[in-house]
């Protein structure tokens, strides 16, 4: 379905301002996340940065799109929720898989940059500190 005669010039003033604000905020967050991806030092720090754009940046731009099209068409148009649901479920899964793969590779290669695993240290020291 192509809306031939819609243009965003027909938006009322408040909707135009709110859409402009949300689009600007979302793209700024995406840019900040990507600059973090560019500037941070190690891989395990770099993983954190782009998720800023993948969650909050996408959320702002999708809310702006929902608002703009709902006001333009005069009815509720919320199909952008599809992208929001899909992205919030898939981004953590993909990042978990990627970091697990990178951690596996670094442990196999005995890389010094790997964060230490505290899983067994905590158990052992807990047993040593036990009062009885």
């Amino acid at each position: 379905m192509i809306d031939i005669d819609l243009t965003f010039k027909d938006l009322p003033a408040w909707a135009a301002y709110v859409t402009a604000l949300f689009v600007f905020l979302g793209s700024s967050l995406a840019l900040i996340g990507s600059i973090g991806l560019l500037r941070l030092k190690s891989f395990y720090e770099r993983v954190h940065a782009p998720t800023l754009g993948a969650t909050l940046g996408t959320g702002f731009i999708l809310v702006a799109s929902m608002l703009c099209f709902s006001v333009l068409r005069g009815r509720l148009s919320v199909h952008e929720i599809l992208i929001a649901v899909f992205l919030t479920t898939t981004t953590p899964v993909a990042m978990m898989l990627l970091v697990r793969a990178a951690l596996y590779r670094d442990r196999v290669e005995n890389n010094r940059e790997v964060p230490e695993s505290n899983k067994y240290k905590g158990v052992v020291s807990g047993q040593q500190n036990r009062p009885d």
Partner: protein
């Protein structure tokens, strides 16, 4: 492609200008973000950095298409963005599997 008569011309008012410039700046920012991700994709020191750059690259491309869809008020670009999101997730998962095991399908 416009079959209906154009709406009567409206003088350029402030909300329209603000929205137009905001969309332009957003497209500029997202283009810069894609450039940062492309740097990681090309010059990333190791394979996992390149996969992370690819992930960021497709998310930013999706946002750029959504912004363009708002700009020309068309719902077609929403579907393009949805497809980019789905295929990008599949690509990241397949590349992570490749980094982990050296094979995608075993």
């Amino acid at each position: 492609m416009r079959f209906l008569p154009l709406p009567p011309a409206r003088p350029l008012d402030l909300p329209f200008l603000v929205l137009d410039w905001s969309l332009f700046i957003a497209q500029l920012f997202l283009g810069l973000a894609m450039a940062c991700a492309a740097y990681r994709l090309i010059f990333g020191p190791r394979a996992q950095d390149r996969v992370l750059g690819l992930d960021t690259f497709y998310v930013n491309a999706m946002l750029l298409l959504l912004t363009y869809g708002i700009r020309i008020a068309s719902a077609v670009y929403f579907e393009v963005a949805l497809i980019i999101g789905m295929l990008g997730f599949v690509g990241t998962v397949a590349l992570s599997k490749f980094i982990m095991r050296g094979e995608v399908i075993e």
